[in-house]
């Protein structure tokens, strides 16, 4: 737990915000980990994926989904937040892969950015598929491109990029592994379509976010797992739908 200072808030789309924070970043060990944020007036913390991080700053991207994220979006620069950091297992990048495909849908996109950066640092440049509902929802395409990634965007209504779902365009790429994050329906579709192995990041309503309450448990082939502690990332091989 620590106190973090809001350094900037920027509106990315009509309902999505990018926030950078400063504070103790040493808790965060892997891409795909998340933080859990205390927001004044709300009892439970709000989990958000780490979108980017360096020694001093952390970037989060969040969609205004309800009252809590709405309050977060209205916070002022230089105010402070109480955040539990470095939660969850994160993506395991020590798997033997050469052509990974990163697939993100909506507010599942943020953790893939730090993942792409980390892979890049390891000498692997991933391809990226980003799916949104419509043109107005699209964010971070340029950021991924700036990393040198081959990026493809699709929208459900075709108002931007390719028309359709991420699964409609993922075969435009050669890939030997998938890293994905997004709504469960999307994850399931990727699971069903792709013939290679991969890692999938899940969401669940959380009590604690650090493994104490059993609020977020799911069944896997290898027993019960807490999305918050043993996840949010699960390997394709263990997933039970």
């Amino acid at each position: 737990m620590g106190i973090y200072t809001i350094e900037s808030i920027r509106q990315l789309t009509y309902d999505t915000y990018e926030m950078t924070l400063s504070g103790d970043m040493s808790w965060i060990k892997a891409p795909g980990q998340f933080v859990n944020i205390k927001i004044d007036g709300f009892f439970l913390r709000r989990p958000l994926s780490v979108c980017d991080i360096d020694d001093r700053y952390m970037t989060l991207i969040f969609k205004v989904a309800g009252e809590g994220t709405k309050a977060l979006s209205m916070m002022k620069v230089s105010s402070q937040l109480d955040i539990l950091c470095g939660l969850g297992n994160g993506y395991d990048i020590n798997v033997s892969i050469s052509e990974p495909l990163l697939i993100g849908g909506g507010c599942g996109v943020p953790p893939l950015y730090y993942l792409a950066k980390t892979l890049k640092n390891k000498g692997i440049t991933p391809s990226v598929v980003l799916g949104f509902n419509k043109k107005e929802d699209v964010f971070y395409e340029d950021k991924f491109k700036a990393l040198g990634c081959n990026v493809c965007v699709c929208t459900v209504d075709g108002s931007y990029g390719y028309i359709g779902l991420v699964t409609d365009i993922m075969d435009m790429f050669d890939y030997d592994y998938t890293f994905s994050c997004g709504p469960e329906g999307m994850l399931k579709a990727i699971y069903d379509k792709s013939i290679v192995s991969g890692q999938f990041s899940f969401e669940e309503r959380m009590g604690c976010g650090f493994g104490a309450c059993m609020g977020c448990t799911c069944k896997t082939k290898y027993g019960y797992k807490r999305i918050c502690k043993d996840g949010p990332v699960l390997f394709k091989e263990e997933i039970l739908w």
Partner: protein
């Protein structure tokens, strides 16, 4: 120096602060945040005879100053708890813990409690007859004085540690249930478990929780818990562990003044993993400010 140590039926705690069942796992996650040996004791996640997955997710919802859970007693079963968890706990917690036991029949309760005989890092047994999140059993034992008496009697007979019975607030008269337990040999009463509650997702027009209803806990329930502890203190002679909505050091003191010998803190651990440590640190100063040199002196003070 303020005396913080309290005694629960022979078990001495260095202070009255105990994390509540289901909100502290087996302590491991918290031991990564701070040295949990400072705790008076801690209460393990509820254990049943057989392993249980519990209810489907979503199991968690939020409300004003509170949360709802419908975990439904997920646990690896008594055998695993005895063989593994209770052994592993020794590595990071050197005092006796409290074992929280649930069952779907009197026999299951009895089985679990018998299985805990001779295990020296279990200091107390908390018999949960109040879980609102399981179909049969659970709370149904806690809403009927006869059933409560039956479970207590069976369990007390086989237990080699003090037996505390944990009661549900979802009853017309909690003192009636407590008296039934007391008369069958319970060493103490724990009150309260969660209030049966629900939330609806207005966009989906469906209950938020897969289980439809869940148990409300957190600061929202504190005044209800306090009232029940106050009532219990008037009607029973055995010690009470006060539980429900405690979020700060002042709440601990209110709860003890209402009649609790010790307290359990549940949900607050989930949103602030350091809460018990913070409260333990603040207790001596707070008591000094109130001119109290021994915490035992405030137990039931509001009745005088």
């Amino acid at each position: 120096m303020v005396n913080l140590s309290v005694n629960l039926s022979g078990l001495t705690l260095s202070n009255p602060i105990i994390p509540a069942s289901g909100c502290f796992g087996y302590g491991k996650e918290f031991s990564e945040y701070y040295d949990i040996n400072i705790l008076g004791s801690f209460c393990m996640k509820g254990t049943t005879k057989e392993p249980r997955f519990g209810n489907e997710t979503p199991r968690i919802a939020e409300s004003s100053s509170g949360m709802l859970n419908s975990v439904g007693l997920q646990n690896p079963g008594i055998e695993h708890v005895v063989q593994q968890e209770l052994k592993e706990i020794r590595a990071y917690y050197s005092k006796p813990v409290i074992a929280n036991i649930s069952g779907f029949s009197v026999e299951e309760y009895e089985y679990c409690v018998r299985r805990l005989r001779g295990i020296d890092n279990v200091g107390l047994i908390e018999v949960n007859i109040s879980c609102p999140n399981v179909e049969q059993g659970g709370m149904s034992f806690g809403t009927d004085p006869e059933m409560a008496a039956k479970v207590t009697k069976a369990v007390v007979k086989v237990a080699d540690k003090p037996v505390y019975v944990k009661l549900t607030p979802n009853v017309t008269d909690i003192t009636e249930i407590a008296k039934a337990c007391e008369s069958e040999g319970a060493s103490g009463i724990c009150a309260i478990n969660t209030l049966s509650a629900m939330r609806i997702d207005i966009k989906k027009q469906k209950p938020v929780l897969a289980n439809i209803t869940g148990g409300l806990s957190g600061p929202a329930v504190f005044p209800v818990a306090l009232r029940m502890v106050y009532q219990l203190y008037k009607e029973i002679k055995i010690p009470i562990i006060g539980i429900g909505g405690i979020s700060k050091v002042e709440d601990v003191i209110e709860m003890m003044m209402a009649g609790a010998t010790a307290v359990q803190i549940g949900s607050l651990n989930l949103v602030d993993p350091y809460i018990c440590k913070t409260i333990i640190n603040q207790l001596p100063g707070m008591l000094e400010q109130l001119g109290i040199d021994d915490i035992n002196k405030i137990v039931g003070a509001a009745h005088r």
